[in-house]
């Protein structure tokens, strides 16, 4: 039943919400606005000469095919990492939510969340140690297998994907786990009583009912991976140039903030467009 609004309720709600909005304004809206502003300038307004307004930075993107190619490369990277995270993460979450109980579940959860607790640089460099030629992985496989193993994974796109999947896998596991756990156990009993086997239960009940969590996890992975720059740079070597690393270069190496800002907003727009275009599919999954 809807409650009648109490006079002054709206004002109180506004008062209670004010700190949150203030924080959002300071931490998100202002910096983003500043960046948007920079992206229309000829230079960042830090030097002696005063910058002029221009669309040059955006034109740069459309006139240089390399940018579009790199953006496509980043999107492909995002799709691959998201796909692998979903393929690995969802079964993990399924086992965690439905098969394992008690302390074992807590321990496994800790292992899932562990990547979040370590510094991302440490994480990426650890992978470098594992993947590099004659590294941990090569030596282990060499010792186990009778023939010579030279995987040569380091400085390949595969290394970038491995590093990113490891970093972002917890998002998919956690969101899927929450969705899976919310499903009542009785539903599976009911389906079994009706004669349904495991595959039917997975296809007609578990997947549709946990899809919102799975999609949330996939979005949480896809968006940052498309703009990622650290893992590509460290693990990708000469293959490691992506849209994210180009943006980073503009800010850190070339000091062309306006171009970096413009490329960032193009990335933001493209990611939003992808999410928007897929939203009919996503929304169907959510209902």
């Amino acid at each position: 039943m809807a409650q009648a609004p109490i006079p002054g309720d709206g004002r109180r709600a506004a008062g209670l919400l004010a700190p949150a909005y203030l924080w959002l304004t300071l931490a998100v809206f202002l910096p983003l606005s500043a960046m948007l502003f920079f992206s229309f300038l000829t230079a960042a307004p830090f030097g002696t000469e005063s910058p002029r307004a221009t669309l040059e930075n955006y034109r740069d993107f459309f006139e240089t095919p390399t940018y579009a190619l790199l953006l496509w490369k980043s999107i492909r990277l995002g799709l691959w990492v998201t796909l692998l995270c979903v393929l690995i993460g969802f079964p993990c979450a399924l086992v965690l939510a439905r098969q394992i109980r008690g302390r074992a579940r807590e321990a496994l959860f800790l292992l899932v969340i562990l990547p979040f607790w370590s510094n991302s640089l440490v994480r990426v460099f650890s992978w470098a140690i594992v993947l590099r030629g004659n590294g941990v992985l090569d030596r282990t496989l060499d010792a186990l297998l009778p023939f010579d193993v030279r995987l040569g994974l380091m400085f390949t796109p595969a290394a970038v994907v491995i590093g990113l999947v490891h970093s972002y896998l917890p998002y998919v596991i956690l969101t899927s786990y929450l969705a899976l756990q919310a499903i009542e156990d009785d539903i599976f009993d009911a389906a079994r009583a009706l004669g349904a086997g495991r595959i039917t239960i997975l296809r007609r009940l578990i997947l549709p009912l946990s899809l919102p969590g799975l999609i949330a996890g996939a979005v949480l992975v896809f968006v940052p991976v498309v703009g990622s720059f650290m893992e590509p740079r460290i693990l990708g070597g000469r293959f490691g140039t992506y849209f994210g690393t180009v943006i980073e270069d503009q800010f850190v190496a070339v000091f062309n903030w306006p171009l970096g800002a413009a490329l960032s907003f193009i990335l933001l727009a493209v990611v939003l467009a992808i999410l928007g275009l897929s939203s009919p599919v996503l929304r169907r999954g959510l209902t």
């Binding site: 009542e184 009993d189 009911a190 009583a193 009706l194 004669g195 349904a196 007609r204």
Partner: protein, 341 residues
């Protein structure tokens, strides 16, 4: 012929014995209630019959076939759960048709049978709704339609009505009984509500601590309980103290059998401010309290150190102040002899 038969079934969970050598036959087409307090093993027995649990010992037969190692999805049973367990992502029609889809029934056949099942539970026209758009009673009906649409050999109901409020529960009891008769399906249902068991079932089985205490038609179990637990669990029972005080208070008289214990139902007692001349059994007591509950009233009376209940129509119970002396009388035929204390 017994459609479902359970023989010597024992079910242990670690140290705990949930079912201890339970044997019970469920007659074809019958409506059987498994009754017992929580922890008595009634739900465990239902889940053993359903096939969710495999017993450590004993046989379970459905339609003559031994099934104690057959998993639930192969047993051709229909089951209804306490919270209905409807599939929230599917429509009502899809919920009801789920078991048919699993059996690869053709779409036309599925539509026809789902329609029939929804007609039977009086939900025609609601097939396109989602479970969350239904009331509690409607969800209940969907769950029932879903359980019977596959023509199972036996229908298992786990506390089917406990989530409904009282008025709706009574409606659904009548409805459930009608549908069960119409379909003619062997039905086993678990409940802790003794009134529900007496209303619905044509046979009841009483469980306690994993053992079957007594089974039989409701009237028989009610009128001839095998022990004091059953007497008290199925309906209210006033037990005579054992041993009886010697001598009995002045004016008291009892004519008892040689049974181990004796009980009197609250509705068999007559309460009066003075001794009742015609009563074959008569005991003095002290009125503790009087509770008015609409059609009926209950008097709590302290008798021979026990607390007894007297239930009668409100106007048939004299209006007396608390703590006054009263007399309780009853006929010899109303004394229930109980073989086991």
């Amino acid at each position: 012929m017994a459609e479902v038969s359970v023989a010597g079934v024992t079910m242990r969970f670690g140290e705990m014995t949930a079912l201890d050598d339970v044997s019970l036959d469920f007659v074809n087409g019958g409506f059987f209630a498994l009754l017992g307090p929580s922890g008595s093993g009634k739900t465990t027995l239902l889940r053993v019959i359903a096939g969710f649990l495999f017993p450590q010992a004993g046989r379970v037969r459905i339609a003559g076939q031994p099934v104690e190692r057959v998993p639930v999805e192969k047993r051709e049973i229909g089951m209804m759960f306490q919270n209905y367990a409807l599939f929230p992502n599917l429509t009502v029609a899809e919920n009801v048709g789920f078991g048919l889809r699993v059996r690869h029934v053709s779409r036309a056949e599925e539509r026809r049978r789902v329609g029939e099942a929804l007609d039977l539970v009086q939900l025609s026209g609601l097939g396109a709704r989602r479970p969350r758009e239904l009331s509690g009673g409607q969800r209940q009906r969907v769950a029932l339609a879903r359980a019977i649409v596959t023509n199972p050999k036996v229908l298992l109901l786990d506390e089917p009505l406990s989530a409904l409020d009282k008025a709706l529960r009574v409606d659904m009891q009548i409805e459930l009984k009608r549908i069960q008769r119409e379909v003619g399906i062997t039905t086993i249902f678990v409940t802790h509500d003794q009134e529900e068991a007496l209303t619905l079932a044509d046979r009841i089985g009483i469980l306690r601590d994993g053992r079957l205490v007594q089974a039989g038609p409701p009237r028989e179990v009610y009128n001839a309980p095998i022990d004091t637990f059953t007497a008290r669990f199925l309906g209210e029972a006033n037990l005579l103290p054992d041993p009886l005080p010697v001598p009995l208070p002045d004016g008291a008289r009892l004519s008892l059998t040689s049974a181990a214990a004796h009980a009197v139902r609250p509705e068999a007692l007559t309460l009066s401010p003075g001794p009742i001349a015609a009563a074959e059994n008569l005991l003095p007591g002290r009125l503790v309290s009087r509770v008015f509950a609409g059609s009926m009233a209950t008097c709590i009376v302290a008798v021979l150190g026990e607390t007894w209940k007297v239930v009668a129509r409100d106007r048939d119970l004299p209006q007396l102040p608390e703590n006054t002396e009263v007399w309780l009388g009853w006929a010899r035929a109303d004394t229930i002899p109980i073989d086991r204390a």
